[in-house]
């Protein structure tokens, strides 16, 4: 593959990623696109993305192949080897020649990965300031370091992934907060409106209407605010 083709592939990938981030997006699809871009535009055989769960354990969320071999290798990488190292240190960890590597504690990782025919591993952390969300892991069939160009591209892709994940998380958190608050806070207005509807319909005072509303909710074993909402929307008549 010529470098020109790779560059245009990268260019296309960044353009697509930027479009995706601007619109609504599915974060898993975004990460899948990222690992596939790594595979096609960087000189690596396979790529996988590990994300930390709330217990700070790394989980595989996207990979270029569903083959058991790759999946197993990446899952193991979550426990020992350069990926977990990179996650803890927040730094890029490069192992250009696995066969020559002698790091203690990585023995099982080296054996499994070598069995799959990989000879080099590069891990880039997904990091924003002090927070490390996970790692982008690249597996090569050849030995040797990534070119400077590919290293920069890998970091840029990892940054895009970081932004995409954080943005989606904050969006989801805000939305959840918004929904929970809205439910809690809207109920006051809706209950008052429902009291008005019942007060007029039954020719009683608003206080008596509140009792009617409350009794109905109790009998139906439903939340007061839900019953009030149905009355106001004319879904039930009390």
């Amino acid at each position: 593959m010529t470098s020109r083709t790779r560059e245009s592939l990268l260019f296309d990938a960044f353009a697509t990623l930027a479009d995706t981030l601007v619109a609504e997006y599915d974060v898993v699809e975004l990460l899948q696109l990222l690992v596939e871009t790594c595979q096609s535009a960087l000189g690596v055989a396979e790529a996988g993305l590990l994300l930390a769960n709330p217990n700070d354990e790394l989980e595989l969320v996207a990979s270029t192949s569903e083959s058991m071999e790759l999946v197993e290798a990446i899952q193991l990488a979550a426990e020992q080897g350069p990926c977990i190292d990179s996650f803890h240190s927040g730094r890029t960890v490069s192992v250009p020649d696995l066969d020559a590597d002698t790091t203690e504690g990585w023995e099982e990782f080296r054996a499994v990965v070598a069995e799959q025919g990989f000879h080099s591993v590069y891990t880039v952390p997904l990091r924003l300031r002090d927070q490390v969300l996970g790692t982008l892991n690249l597996f090569g069939r050849d030995r040797g370091p990534l070119t400077e160009h590919d290293t920069r591209a890998a970091k840029a892709l990892a940054d895009v992934a970081t932004i995409g994940i954080l943005h989606e998380r904050s969006f989801r958190a805000t939305n959840l907060l918004r929904e929970q608050l809205q439910v809690a806070l809207d109920s006051r207005v809706v209950i008052e409106q429902a009291k008005g509807v019942l007060a007029h319909t039954h020719s009683v005072t608003p206080e008596q209407a509140f009792e009617l509303l409350r009794n109905h909710a109790r009998d139906a074993q439903r939340r007061l605010a839900d019953v009030a909402g149905q009355i106001v929307r004319r879904e039930i008549i009390v």
Partner: protein
């Protein structure tokens, strides 16, 4: 610089009530004639505290009419400064300025209160004298709005249970308006939004507040009826 600025600021940061003390604290560090604090935007529009009847009237008129500096501050998420209410202000908010005739308000200033991306309300300040608020005073009021936003949210959440009536009813409560909205819905078979609009229109048309109209509706002194395809006032 007012000597007790940081003192008041800290007090507001950990403010826990009563609501009526809010505006005294604000006016200690921002030299306006009067101040009010209102929930808006994400929360139902309602005055939390007002330093004097004129401040309360300024809030209520804005809620009833749906226009004014606090609505603009909430919509733009930025302070709205209008030192010349009768001049430029009258072009921007004609109905509001008309309904505030004779109140003697020269300048109005509104500061949005937000928690994250959610707007919780606004602080309104007004002045009767011609001197506008200075730059420092504006940034102080903005800072106050920022610290009070979380108090306003906590307060709304504490009142949101819904299972029991609220024990300490605020004098500025708009629950009468919400109840009256329900009456009108039942009288005419219209939606909540339409019913509220009818009450708003009736208030505007008669130069009274929505709360006054609401009280009459609840007491049965004012009712809406459909005659042919017209909505009329019944007795």
């Amino acid at each position: 610089m007012t000597p007790d600025f940081s003192d008041v600021f800290e007090r507001l940061r950990s403010f826990s009530g009563p609501d009526a003390d809010l505006t005294d604290q604000i006016l200690r560090i921002v030299p306006a004639t009067g101040a009010s604090v209102a929930t808006m935007g994400f929360l139902a529009a309602e005055t939390v505290a007002a330093s004097d009847p004129r401040a309360a009237r300024l809030d209520e008129a804005q809620f009833d009419l749906g226009e004014g500096p606090c609505w603009d501050a909430v919509a733009t998420r930025a302070p709205v400064l209008q030192p010349d209410l009768q001049g430029e202000g009258a072009v921007r908010w004609p109905a509001l300025v008309q309904s505030l005739q004779g109140e003697g308000i020269e300048g109005v200033y509104a500061f949005p209160m937000a928690v994250g991306s959610l707007i919780m309300g606004a602080i309104d300040l007004y002045r009767t004298g011609p001197r506008p608020l200075g730059k420092d005073e504006v940034s102080r009021a903005s800072a106050v709005a920022e610290v009070l936003s979380s108090y306003v949210l906590r307060r709304a959440l504490a009142r949101s249970g819904g299972e029991e009536p609220i024990p300490d009813e605020s004098p500025f409560s708009r629950r009468m308006v919400h109840q009256a909205t329900g009456y009108v819905m039942a009288q005419l078979g219209v939606s909540a939004a339409e019913a509220e609009l009818l009450i708003r229109g009736r208030a505007f048309g008669s130069g009274r507040s929505m709360r006054e109209i609401a009280t009459e509706i609840i007491q049965g002194r004012h009712r809406f009826e459909v005659k042919g395809n017209m909505i009329e006032d019944g007795q």
